[in-house]
């Protein structure tokens, strides 16, 4: 339960920040939320990864759907891996690492 709340919090705050601010501000959101929630490292990492990953994937799908995939296949061919995969993983990885850092910071030992 706490895990879900943490993930949702990261997702929503990142969404709000990213609307106006550069892409990496989601890392700040992930770090701050994870610091507060003080979960062990692996769940923390997973929470940040899923939150930002799903946020980015969701936005990407939304755009792809509302634009009839007009640009997606072209960029897909330019990139070495699937564009949705890369979007999710890159966003998720940074979110997860930021959360992990916060978790380590709270770790007693």
């Amino acid at each position: 339960m706490k895990f879900l709340v943490q993930t949702l919090a990261i997702l929503l705050i990142s969404f709000a920040l990213q609307y106006f601010l550069p892409w990496w501000t989601m890392a700040i959101a992930a770090f701050a939320v994870s610091y507060i929630f003080d979960e062990p490292p692996f769940p923390s990492f997973l929470s940040g990864f899923l939150a930002v990953g799903l946020l980015w994937l969701g936005m990407a799908f939304y755009i792809d759907f509302t634009t009839d995939s007009i640009l997606t296949p072209k960029i897909n061919q330019l990139l070495p891996l699937n564009v949705f995969f890369m979007t999710t993983v890159i966003g998720g990885l940074i979110g997860g690492l930021a959360s992990l850092t916060a978790s380590f910071l709270r770790l007693r030992r």
Binding site: Q18, W23, A60, D64, T101, F104
Partner: protein
Amino acid sequence: MKVFKVGLTAIITIALIYALNRGWNFGTPIPPLGKFLDPFHGFWQNAEQEKVNDLELKIPGLKEEVTVIYDSLLIPHIFANNDEDLYLAQGYITAQHRLWQMEFQTMAAAGRVSEILGSAALDYDRGQRRLGMMYGAQNNLKDIESDPVLNSVSSSYTAGVNAYIKSLSYEDYPLEYKLLDYAPEPWSNLKAGLVQMNFSQTLNSGEKDLQFTNALKAFGKETLDLLYPDREEVGDPIVTNTGKWNFKPVTLDSVPLAVPDEYITITPPEGKPRGIGSNNWVVGGKKTATGSPIVCNDPHLSLGVPSLWFVVHLNSPAVNTMGGSLAGAPAVILGFNDSIAWGCTNAQRDLVDWYRIQFKDSKKNEYLSDGKWIPARKVIEQINVKGGATFYDTVTYTHHGPVRFDESYHGDNERNLFAYRWLSHDGAKPVKAFYLLNRARNHREYMEALNYHMGPAQNFVFGSVSGDIAIRIQGKYPARRQGEGKFVLDGTKTSTEWKKFIPFDQNVMIKNPESGYLFSANQYPVDATYPYYVQSGDFFEAYRNRRIKQLLDPAKEIIPQDMMALHNDNFNLQAYESLPLMLSLLDSATMANLSSAEKYAFEDLRKWDYVNSIETPGAIYYEEWWNELYTAVWDEMKNAKVAMTFPSEFTTIKLMRERPDHSFFDIQQTPAVETLSQLTIDAFKKSVVKIEAWKSKNPQKSFDWANYKDTYVQHLLRMEPLSFHARNGGNSGIVNASSHRWGPSWRMIVSLEKTGVKAWGVYPGGQSGNPGSRFYGNMMEAWEQSKPYRLKFVKRDQLKKSTLATTTLKPANS
């Protein structure tokens, strides 16, 4: 332990953020993946929804409100109350759709690509600087600034572009900026000068002076004249006015040629591909169904997307004009207004000379001129390199022009240093002629407008609602003595310089000829009684023009759809004049031993109707066979250690017919002495092998000419997913001049009817430069099929039912 874990993950996180926030270059450039893939600001934001919204924008610099109505093709119809607002709006709107293209093309012209793409572009950039592109652009800028009208128009346009750029944040950047990780820089009037230079480089830098000089030395004058005649005696020139050139031409004292003793081992810059050029024609009222003239134009350029052309309708109290504009420059360039229409084809002529310079020593600080040592000027070109050290290139300038190639850059030996004199180094009052043409109401005003056109020289075709037709070959031309300019010149004598220019009223022109029509397809410009020496810089066109005449001459009751069909004419006159001969050279021994693939090819060629249509395989066999034969015939040129050029296709075929025993039909490198027949047979066999290889590599593609030719409209960055393949017929040398990478970049037909000018137009690509837009490639199919769109050249209130969206531009403090 904990400190270590925290520290390590923190460092990794931050390092990763840094790495994903900037672009990298491992041979291929990689975008900043974090920024790029971010759906809130990255490339995802460039995807456009189907609905185009109405916009209301506040624009600094605007005096009054401007209304921009977009039609279903996203063509902006710009309605302004004064001219400054009109051109400001044109700048803003063009930038809205084509900013990246405009900037990239001017960066390429200026030799600044290394700033964007890194050291891989350094050699190219140095070449552009040494060509004098910035030098010419600076002179163009001086011309702009000294002409009040041009200054106002240019500055307004620049202000519009800058207003757009200022409004952008990262997520609004065009896709290519995000891919290459850089930001747009402010626009300037200098960039308008660079657009002019870019066009000049494409159109009038073509020459073969170095190659002709080497050929003269290798073969002697008689053979040289045989291989590279100044005019191929075939077809009609653009203007026939025999015996009526009633002016006193400027005269010059004659000067002997100064051909160097040694070959010139410079590798000349790559010239235009063969067979490119353009078509235009005008048919007068006597030949049309409506009784009004029809003007047509299809300029042939490198097929790229976004297109060079951006269609626009400009309307203010002083002007109402529509047509193709050049992204980056104000006004309409190829188009029409309520009274007239005009179009351009490239006026092929050699506008470059190479002057051999004798420097005092290797420092190149002084050079000889009329017996005295005069100082050279050193210009240090600074080339900024992304991800690398700034490069400083010292270019030596003489009063003729820059020394393009020297010991630091693709040079010859020290004794052969040449200064490059190019007409386009001179200021050319860019756009002024077109600005005036936009407003011209009759033939007289067309003539006055053209007096401002220095270059690149064009064949301007003209028609008016009042019934006049005309053509004028306009540019600033040096007055040449017979044979001059075809070879390199002696730069130590000022007598070899361009002393005089042909007065504009002595340029080739004609109005309302007996024939009732006029056309140009880059053929020889004028009849033999014209007193000035004309040299193409390579050779004049010999096929498209004759086919156009063949179809236009008997035509009556012409309607615009006939003109669309002519644009798409795929008849291969070169094949018609060469294939029977080639087939006859396959001797009986060869015929008895054909492989099955060769038998098939032979049968196909025999049945072929000489039309390069989409489906026909006959065209494939002919074109490959001809390519092999043409290359084999001129192996001497191809394998020469010094720069040489092939004679034209027409001259080659003429020699094949008239001089089959000529020694050129022997391949030098083999001990045996080949004959034309042997060359033809070998070429046939080689071509069939090549075609069979294509077939096995492309089993999924049907074996037809369109697939084989593969007309490819390529994005400027050469990225395949952003480019288009087209299926159409034709080839270079055919009226439908679509080859693999070149073709009709714009097709325009204007019917100058008294009830209202009607026009049609199309180009490959679309009005939007955004690959994420529906309007990026929406015109491809219509262009492929030569079915141009009706251009809505109507009054503002008549646009209501065709409106896709409206953009209202308001002054900033309103």
